[in-house]
């Protein structure tokens, strides 16, 4: 049994310790907001926060998440009103939407550290997240907007 703290709640899991957190979330806990895209930490679709750090859950064994706090897209806010989630909706950022959980988790982690990132800061924080639909220009814009909203509040 492994105990994980996800979005502030403790969960007991009977899984192989090397199972990646992604599949524990999706297949065992039925939390499907975190997406699979590559299984090799190449695309960022599976990004969650591990003690606040953006982390690719597709290669992180569940055993490595023990005693740490995991935040997934479902836990970013109660009502979907985190400044990043709000900006994503205001600007109609998503196209298919599949990668956007990971994009928003990377963006939220960036803004937690850097309240007003430059385009360069955004590019380097977001370059691990692929969007095949090509929403990158709006992701940049939305991060700027979320930064403004965050600093105003």
């Amino acid at each position: 049994m492994i105990t994980l703290t996800i979005n502030g709640k403790k969960h007991q899991l009977d899984v192989a310790p090397e199972m990646p957190l992604l599949w524990a979330l999706r297949d065992v806990l039925n939390m499907t907001g975190t997406k699979y895209g590559c299984g090799m930490s190449l695309c960022g679709a599976c990004t969650v926060h591990l003690d606040g750090e953006p982390t690719r859950s597709c290669t992180l064994p569940v055993s490595a998440a023990k005693n740490k706090s995991v935040t997934t897209i479902e836990g970013l806010s109660e009502q979907g009103d985190h400044p990043v989630q709000q900006a994503w909706q205001d600007l109609n950022v998503p196209q298919c939407g599949y990668c956007q959980s990971g994009q928003m988790m990377s963006a939220a982690a960036l803004l937690a550290k850097n309240a007003s990132p430059s385009d360069g800061d955004i590019d380097s924080a977001m370059q691990g997240n692929i969007c095949r639909c090509g929403t990158y220009p709006r992701i940049r814009e939305a991060i700027h907007q979320a930064a403004k909203k965050q600093s105003a509040s």
């Binding site: 109609n92 196209q95 298919c96 939407g97 928003m104 095949r132 639909c133 990158y136």
Partner: protein, 774 residues
């Protein structure tokens, strides 16, 4: 006469033509009808018969019994609580269709947007084509949905007029109400449902439509929040991969690394030891041609994805290789070069190109090569099947629920009406998910195992077992006499999509319509032809299909000619296109025009020049350029829309380039959801950047060499310059949107690189050319 005048007119001939194509609307909510069906009568349900429309890749599609038979209906439901439910029968894969189709209804019917609800349709031929590819959703369903909405509006208005005992023409629909302004009375749609339900559906010729100045959404610059926007923001959506069923197991499949190879023997001893593995199942071998059949191989079924993929690694499989084991991309390129030299299969002929090329003083020749590509949607193919009480239920991220239904039925022996296809959201499609092989795998396993099975395709599976955009070798030759281009010869050799459905197919067919025979330049001698090409993978269609490679070559070559003639590339493009006219190819080629009537959707040179001029204006093409900044241009009509692109690069001291700006100008006629059209153009530019910089599938010993995003790279945020989109709006009928933005990107980038560095790149991709500054 503009398009709207055309559909408003009561011209007998026009209506007759329309009626030939369409049956009348029928009110399926009439009480007696519903009683007979045992359906409740709580809401006004309007069905409409849709035109029998041909699919874009008709020649490809009709062989695997695809969507060319139509006995369709699309439904609106109006409930007493004023909710207007639009049943969206097309698949959402990022183009915004679950928002845009309801906007058509909301506009014509005058629905308060807050009262709109969306339901996703099951796969059912009553809806008409559900095959969501070919940039057709708005193009084909704009008018039918407006007719349905106008009928509903008419009936609600009649119901109100009857109630108030006033003339119908004194009542108008406004924002989910019928209003009688003379007496200041109004009734909500919901309040009128009961009365409207008993009325006859109006005859089509009696319908009136909104005029352009009355539109709320259509052709307006008004952003509407995406129907699924909040759910996406909260991770609350249901994609193909997200389906969970009670008692469900997860399967991954070890498919033959070389297509049509067979399992000779396998040893699953080690695989079975992995905790969570439930069963190992050998699938039937695939016999060519592939159609949408599963590829065969060994399925590993487990409690969860991790156990399944770990166990799959431990399978020991000995393959009985097919003849495709001999295939390598290097050999293939050489073969295509040879066959494109002579290109015996003439697809367009005008004048005498051979003579003109023989007699000219200046003969320009260039050869282009583009590699195979794979779709790489962020969500690979995913399907979940459950066989219960004789019904096969399949949930999947499919672009084409009807051919999924048929194929699942054929491959499992279950009657089509006992196969239910539920369309989830698609995490990208790009054409991959219009091939239902992955649904069949799930259905076969679910039927065999007796419990629900989700088949997961890993990224590696997606990259190595796809339906590939084919590699293409192209030879272009032109004659120049007296500073004019007098002959244009475009030869191509590329494995045809037809080979997926017919093992003997060696020449392109419908692909020729896409950027080859529709060459718009006014040249007296033209020859477009194909050479034979063997396929060694399943060949499919990918966003913009062969427009991608044909326009890379043709759009680069015309730029080469401009430089040969020492002319400005933009001015030269306009000169080559020539006078304003509708291009008539009827005596030169069999042109498909994306399945559209050439009278309604002509090849209009004025519109093509229009987007070029606008792109030049927006980019400041004619102005003095910034130091070390250079531009390239390209334009193309595809899917009945026109797009021009100007790319600006800056040059570094070591003769490398950096993408600085991309200007896109599109003209797709009437626009339903302008903001989503812009987003499609942004995405198309970036899809094009992926193709130019990175996209390359190669094979050795018949096996695909790439496997994941480290060696099949796609554009990241760091690859993307400023993108400026300008959508021209007019009252022409709606053209396609999802695809037309892609084709001009590759030539525009390469033309800009040439302007900057003098290096002409005739092969893609460019990542190994060391040309981009990091």
């Amino acid at each position: 006469m503009n398009y709207f005048e055309q559909i408003n007119q009561t011209d007998a001939e026009y209506l007759q033509e329309q009626l030939k194509q369409r049956n009348d609307l029928f009110n399926v909510s009439r009480r007696s009808f519903l009683r007979n069906l045992g359906i409740g009568t709580g809401s006004l349900v309007l069905g409409l018969q849709l035109p029998a429309v041909s699919a874009v890749p008709m020649k490809w599609a009709d062989k695997p019994a695809a969507d060319n038979v139509f006995s369709p209906s699309v439904y609106l439901k109006i409930a007493k609580d004023n909710t207007v439910t639009v049943i969206v029968h097309r698949s959402e894969m990022g183009q915004g269709i679950r928002t845009s189709l309801p906007m058509i209804v909301a506009d014509e019917l005058e629905v308060d947007w807050n009262n709109i609800a969306v339901e996703q349709a099951l796969g059912d031929s009553k809806y008409g084509s559900q095959n969501t590819d070919g940039s057709r959703s708005v193009r084909r369903f704009f008018t039918p949905l407006r007719e349905a909405a106008a009928s509903a509006r008419t009936m609600l208005t009649q119901a109100a007029a009857k109630k108030w005992k006033v003339a119908v023409n004194e009542c108008v629909a406004k924002n989910s109400f019928i209003v009688h302004s003379n007496s200041n009375r109004k009734l909500s749609f919901g309040e009128l449902v009961d009365d409207a339900m008993d009325l006859e559906v109006p005859k089509k010729e009696s319908l009136s439509f909104k005029s352009p100045e009355q539109f709320n959404f259509i052709n307006q610059d008004k952003q509407v929040a995406l129907v699924d926007g909040k759910d996406i923001a909260m991770g609350n959506t249901s994609f193909g991969i997200d389906i969970q069923r009670e008692g469900m197991k997860v399967a991954v499949i070890a498919r033959p690394p070389v297509i049509a190879s067979k399992v000779k023997s396998f040893d699953a001893t080690e695989a079975k030891k992995v905790k969570g593995v439930v069963d190992i199942v050998q699938l039937d071998n695939m016999t060519e041609p592939p159609f949408f059949k599963p590829l065969g191989g060994i399925a590993v079924i487990a409690d969860n994805t991790w156990a399944a993929t770990e166990a799959r690694k431990k399978l020991k499989i000995t393959w009985d290789w097919s003849e495709h084991r001999e295939h390598s991309s290097k050999k293939q390129k050489q073969a295509l070069k040879e066959s494109s030299k002579t290109a015996s299969n003439v697809l367009r002929n005008k004048g005498d190109t051979t003579a003109a090329l023989g007699n000219t003083k200046q003969r320009i020749h260039a050869e282009y090569y583009t590699p195979a590509l794979i779709h790489a949607p962020m969500e690979p193919p995913m399907a979940t099947a459950e066989f219960k009480d004789g019904i096969m239920h399949v949930w999947a991220c499919t672009q084409t629920p009807q051919s999924s239904q048929r194929t699942v039925s054929q491959m499992t022996g279950i009657e089509p009406d006992k196969v239910k296809i539920y369309v989830t959201l698609l995490g990208g499609g790009f054409g991959r998910k219009s091939k239902p092989d992955f649904l069949v795998e799930a259905a076969i396993l679910a039927k065999k195992q007796g419990y629900p099975v989700k088949v997961i395709w890993t990224r590696e599976d997606e990259v190595q077992h796809g339906y590939y955009h084919a590699e293409s070798y192209q030879q272009l030759t032109a004659a120049i006499d007296d500073q004019k281009v007098t002959a244009w010869q475009h030869h191509v050799a590329e494995p045809p999509i037809g080979s997926t459905f017919n093992a003997k197919a060696k020449h392109i067919t419908s692909e020729a319509n896409l950027g080859l025979i529709d060459m718009p330049y006014n040249i007296p001698n033209v020859r477009c032809a194909s050479g034979e090409a063997d396929a060694h993978h399943r060949i499919g269609w990918l966003r913009s299909v062969t427009n991608v490679n044909h326009i890379f070559a043709a759009g680069s070559f015309v730029d080469e000619l401009a430089h040969h003639l020492n002319k400005d590339p933009k001015d030269f493009l306009l000169e080559m296109i020539g006078d304003d006219r509708h291009i008539d190819l009827s005596e030169q080629a069999e042109y498909g025009n994306y399945g559209e009537d050439i009278k309604q959707y002509p090849i209009d040179t004025a519109r093509l020049k229009g987007v070029i001029r606008k792109a030049a204006e927006n980019s400041g093409w004619d102005n003095k350029r910034k130091d070390n900044h250079f531009m390239g241009i390209s334009a193309h009509r595809s899917f009945a829309s026109y797009v021009a692109t100007v790319v600006e690069v800056s040059k570094t001291k070591d003769n490398k380039v950096k993408l600085e700006n991309i200007w896109m100008v599109s003209d797709s006629g009437t626009v339903v959801n302008l903001e989503r059209v812009r987003s499609q153009m942004e995405g198309a530019a970036i899809f094009g950047i992926s193709i130019v910089k990175y996209g390359e599938i190669t094979s050795e010993n018949g096996m695909v060499e790439q496997s994941n995003f480290h060696n099949y790279r796609v554009a990241r945020i760091t690859d993307v310059p400023n993108i400026h989109v300008d959508v021209l709006i007019n009252n022409e009928p709606p053209g396609g949107v999802g695809e037309p933005g892609v084709p001009p990107i590759a030539p525009a980038i390469c033309n800009a690189i040439f302007a900057a560095t003098g290096k002409r790149f005739r092969e893609l991709p460019l990542y190994q050319q060391n040309i981009f500054a990091s």
